[in-house]
Point group: C2
Chain length 161, copies 2
């Protein structure tokens, strides 16, 4: 005898019923949906707090990486924060235009080295106040204990991902 369709059985050929069952499963479980929503919420919060300093959360993250590793090649910087090389290229370009970063030739004729300028260094120091207030508010928004969950999640991300 043929098993009758179970709830959650979404292996049908594409009618509206199958679509709703698939949608329900995705809505309940999708990890990307949750990660994206969390990211948007926190990014807005940090960008709000950083706006008075004229820097975004993306830019501050790169300046921070630079501050700890300079001089550093763009590729290395990008891998540290999980950014694709072309994305780094464009972000660094904007920060050079802003006067926060300079590039010098690496020994290798194809590579470069990035450095913070004095203005970039000063910006990190000043924006730290804004970051701290955002961090406080973020801890409040995320219910108790969840900040550590995020830390654990992030730690699960290998250097290769």
């Amino acid at each position: 005898m043929t098993a009758k369709p179970q709830p959650g059985d979404v292996s049908g050929s594409g009618g509206p019923v199958e679509a709703r069952a698939a949608a329900a499963a995705i809505a309940q479980e999708c990890l990307a949906t949750r990660a994206r929503r969390l990211d948007r919420t926190l990014t807005r919060l940090y960008n709000d707090a950083l706006r008075p300093y004229g820097v975004t959360s993306t830019q501050l993250a790169l300046l921070v990486g630079l501050s700890l590793q300079e001089p550093v090649r763009p590729g290395v910087l990008g891998r540290g924060v999980g950014l694709e090389k072309s994305t780094v290229s464009r972000n660094v370009g904007r920060m050079i235009d802003s006067g926060w970063v300079t590039e010098i030739d690496g020994q290798d004729g194809r590579s470069k080295l990035l450095r913070l300028t004095d203005a970039g260094s000063t910006l990190v120091s000043r924006a730290y106040k804004g970051w701290r207030s955002a961090q406080e508010r973020a801890k409040t928004v995320l219910s108790q204990g969840t900040a550590e969950s995020l830390a654990r999640l992030d730690a699960g991300l290998g250097a290769d991902s």
Copy 2:
């Protein structure tokens, strides 16, 4: 007597030493940095799996929301996934161009209602296979137990955020 600067004291006036101390604190603790990195990693993974179906993770999330609530106003749909209204407007525009969504007038002369087309419905059913494989891989990438952490994190996000 004056207390000498403590490690972690980054209240100075902006020199390179203060910048590095601030950078170290941010690098170690920033919640937004972690959320953004996690989001980028997962988004790439899901987009890879969905590419054969011609849909992105953002679009699938909206189609899923639509599938469960239609007909629905753009604003309601956006609040459900934490997207700003202008972002919804543009994403929906692309999906209308793709033939997955249609809009009809709401009773209220300023509001609209969105519906899935048959093509949109079919797409959700088909892309479900791709989503499932991405979801499996995502669970592997995130070390054991961390998927639940993400679920808990997301649950901490109020409807107002």
